[in-house]
Symmetry: C2
Subunit: 169 residues, 2 copies
């Protein structure tokens, strides 16, 4: 499945640098993102995340969830062409979840739709291609969030963007 | 006046690298931005433009006005504290102007207000602190645009972000 694929690929490339029990680590101020390209062998799909998206996501995280165990979620915008997805833009979406019960969560649909409508005025070519979360891990409710995004995209990609600073290297 | 000040300061630091007749030069693909900090001696005001804003502006330009003589205009969001303005975020605004008669222009007020309302939901602390244009020069109608922004900010800053690639250096 595409969303899982991206997440898996990312983990292969990046996750090893971070400790496995990273969830409890306090995110540091100058967080960095590492994901850039994910090659999905199964679908022959190439997903390219442009730098602006990485910077926006770190920014989004620092605004909303810095120094907490919360994650942030947002919309990925871009274009799809011949099995290549270019994620060129993104925007934050109000999102809340119960840390103890991940099946209790809230994503502001109205906000999402209004914001997409606004972005389309600036660039009509960009479509919703998926969503991001700052993870750092995939969660049970990501499948449900994926369902939400299937209203906007037939095969939404899910990219976990790790905003934590790298401990090694 | 603050807006002029920022523009002037930027020119001092950056404008000399670009040819004076730069308007007619074709903007190149990998445009770069150079403005980062403007120190305004007159008002003892410090304006700091964060990297995300520079990247977003180049992106906005490349989407809308690449390979044209047009410029793009957007809103600068941030915080003001003790004479220091931190420009931490921005968004594009639909803007059109007659290249031959700069007094004929259109800026989408409704879009601006809706978008600001949306951004406030994600970060309530950020206010409208001014506006940007990709210039590369100050124009007659910038004073009129400044008037629009005075509805949202008592002293809006105007930052020209030069998206052209540097020819020298």
């Amino acid at each position: 499945m595409a969303p899982m694929g991206v997440e898996k690929d990312k983990k292969d490339g990046v996750g090893e640098d971070a400790p496995k029990n990273g969830d409890n680590k306090k995110p540091e101020e100058e967080a960095t993102t590492i994901v850039t390209t994910a090659n999905l062998a199964a679908d022959e799909l190439e997903v390219i995340v442009h730098p602006l998206v990485l910077l926006s996501t770190v920014d989004h995280y620092n605004r909303v969830a810095k120094d907490t165990r919360k994650r942030v979620v947002g919309v990925l915008l871009g274009t799809t062409w011949r099995g290549r997805i270019d994620i060129t833009n993104s925007f934050a979406v109000p999102f809340e979840e119960d840390l103890k019960n991940p099946l209790v969560w809230y994503l502001d649909h109205n906000y999402l739709e209004s914001m997409f409508y606004m972005f389309k005025k600036i660039n009509a070519k960009e479509r919703i291609v998926g969503f991001y979360s700052t993870g750092p891990k995939i969660k049970e409710n990501d499948l449900q969030i994926d369902e939400v995004f299937r209203r906007f995209s037939s095969a939404p990609v899910f990219v976990i963007i790790d905003v934590r600073r790298r401990w090694r290297g």
